[in-house]
């Protein structure tokens, strides 16, 4: 019998992952690694690890391997944390894996992006279980009803990696990959203070998250976890505001799922205007203060 195991890193991740789980339309269990169990997503069972924080990948993959049982499909929402662990789990299980599933064609055939999203590949998988990281934005919001059985599980960890330190998340702003509004800035933002004042300021005004291009991250204007694109985060907000961003293929790979894209750029021929729903040819240093005045505050 086919069966999906959804690996969720926390409650919010479970809610995103359930979009895919419900769309795949197989009975499913959730393993929720941290946080309080979310029990109204239609899973038969929610296994909780109740971890205060995540252990390194070798520990985690080892523990997950024992819980796979008869699953024919194992999925997690695409993110750096899932891309760290799931391929390792696939290696331990010697099983096939599909990265960044966008669409379900059938129970063994999926659509995924390659070449920074400039090509969509339809891939068919033989072998079992099929591991997947999935992009939730392409699936309808999860229906919330019912109540899953909660099973407190004591994971059997084994590994040798030692975590020496971890940087604390800067609080305040919503998570980039789940935010309803994302304000992003590129190279012309000059320095970290300017980025924070203008991009951070407008993001706060709109109750959204701040994002950046690789050019901005590389020049120290923005911190690395804000990078959006092929090799950064994929966002899917209702509103994506690109300020001083040229629109490279690699950046666009991360923003195509946005409902409305607004571009503000001094160069009317910048490629970003080819995909923006609304474009404004204007200096961002003039535009952003005006936007803060004229856009309703969240």
């Amino acid at each position: 019998m086919s069966h999906l195991l959804l690996i969720a890193f926390d409650g919010a991740d479970a809610i995103q992952g359930a979009r895919f789980a419900q769309a795949l339309d197989l009975p499913f269990d959730i393993i929720q690694l941290t946080g309080e169990a979310v029990t109204d997503l239609g899973a038969r069972r929610v296994l909780t690890f109740g971890l205060p924080s995540l252990p390194p990948a070798d520990f985690l993959a080892h523990a997950l391997k024992d819980l796979v049982n008869e699953s024919t499909h194992i999925a997690a929402v695409s993110a750096m944390r899932s891309k760290d662990v799931l391929p390792r789990l696939a290696g331990l299980l010697d099983a096939p894996m599909v990265t960044d599933v966008l669409k379900i064609v059938s129970k063994d055939t999926f659509v995924r992006p390659m070449l920074a999203g400039s090509v969509l590949a339809t891939v068919q998988v033989s072998g079992s279980p099929i591991l997947m990281t999935v992009r939730p934005a392409g699936f309808p919001e999860a229906v919330r009803s019912g109540s899953s059985e909660v099973v407190h599980t004591k994971p059997q960890f084994a590994g040798t990696t030692r975590r020496v330190s971890a940087s604390a998340k800067q609080g305040g702003r919503p998570d980039l990959s789940q935010a309803g509004v994302v304000v992003s800035g590129g190279r012309p933002l000059k320095d970290a203070d300017t980025f924070e004042r203008l991009i951070g300021g407008l993001a706060d005004h709109l109750g959204g998250a701040a994002g950046a291009t690789r050019a901005a991250v590389d020049s120290g204007i923005a911190s690395n976890e804000l990078q959006v694109g092929q090799t950064g985060k994929v966002v899917a907000p209702n509103l994506y505001l690109a300020c001083g961003i040229s629109g490279s293929t690699q950046h666009m790979a991360g923003i195509k799922d946005s409902k409305v894209i607004v571009a503000i750029n001094t160069d009317g021929d910048a490629p970003i205007f080819e995909i923006a729903d609304l474009g404004l040819v204007m200096d961002l240093y003039e535009a952003i203060p005006q936007l803060m005045e004229k856009m309703p505050k969240a």
Binding site: A57, D58, A61, A79, M80, K83, P87, R88, A90, G91, A95, P96, M97, T99, P113, M114, L115, A116, G117, S118, V119, L120, A121, T122, V123, Q124, V125, S126, T160, T161, V164, S165, A166, S167, A168, K169, Q170, R214, V217, D218, N224, E225, Q230, T231, L239, K256, V260, V262, G268, F273, E274, I275, D277, L278, G279, L280, M282, L291, K294, P296
Partner: protein, 246 residues
């Protein structure tokens, strides 16, 4: 210390590659190829290790057709000591690649495998983690700083909300992120000079068939471009009309 650096030949990441009209493959006519940018960062990092510690030796390996020699020569020119081409035209998936590399690791016994976090053609981000699992080695993906010491390596790595520092006992596997370093520029004469360095060829050591098969390639639906507005006021009005803001 021996460092093994697997590299992949990929289309120039800045080129616009399109699928063939019948969806059977990519239209690669006129496209230049290069080392996958993340693998190039891995080669660079290995070379910097060697510059700090002369006892470091670097083996670059690639799995691919005869043309892949070009990328291995570049890795040699950057400073790798030796290159191995596992010559095949088979279409392999990450599972098969990892199995092939695991066989090579068992043969060469490196202390560290250093490789790109993903290849910019298929964007899979799987091979390093799979290889580490097969070998039973600790891993650090998305490395932004690598500091080797006696019997271990300290790695600063990027995470979804910032970063962390891991201590790995060797042997271990590290995958590179963009911020680890900026690879040196190699001019053509350097690549020609590297012709005297050893490059050997091997056949595949395993016979795994791919379990993930590509049925079709297509261009994504184009986002219908929108329109330009003339002022911030017009922009705000348009967003209200579209129901994006209240």
């Amino acid at each position: 210390m021996k460092v093994l650096v697997p590299i992949k030949r990929v289309p120039d990441p800045y080129a616009k590659v399109k699928p063939l009209a019948d969806g059977s493959g990519l239209d690669l006519s006129g496209i230049k190829f290069d080392i996958n940018p993340f693998d190039e960062i891995a080669v660079e990092e290995a070379v910097r290790m060697k510059e700090r510690d002369a006892s470091v030796s670097i083996v670059a390996v690639s799995i691919g057709g005869a043309e892949t020699e070009e990328q291995l020569r570049k890795a040699l020119a950057m400073g790798a000591d030796e290159a191995i081409l596992i010559e095949t035209t088979d279409a392999l998936d990450p599972r098969a690649i990892a199995a092939e590399l695991a066989a090579l690791v068992n043969d060469l016994q490196p202390d560290v495998v250093l490789m790109g976090k993903q290849a910019t053609d298929e964007d899979n981000n799987q091979v390093g983690q799979r290889l580490a699992a097969k070998l039973g080695w600790p891993q650090a993906t998305f490395a932004s700083k690598v500091s080797p010491a006696e019997g271990n390596v300290t790695v600063e790595r990027e995470t979804d909300d910032g970063g962390e520092t891991l201590l790995l006992k060797t042997p271990c596997l590290i995958t590179t992120d963009l911020r680890l370093n900026e690879p040196r520029y190699i001019a053509l004469p350097g690549i020609i000079k590297a012709r005297s360095k050893p490059l050997s060829k091997r056949e595949r050591a395993t016979s795994l068939e791919p379990q993930v098969k590509t049925l079709n390639l297509e261009a994504p639906p184009a986002r219908a471009g929108g329109r330009k507005v003339g002022s911030v006021d017009e922009l705000v009005d348009a967003l209200k009309e579209m129901g994006v803001i209240a």
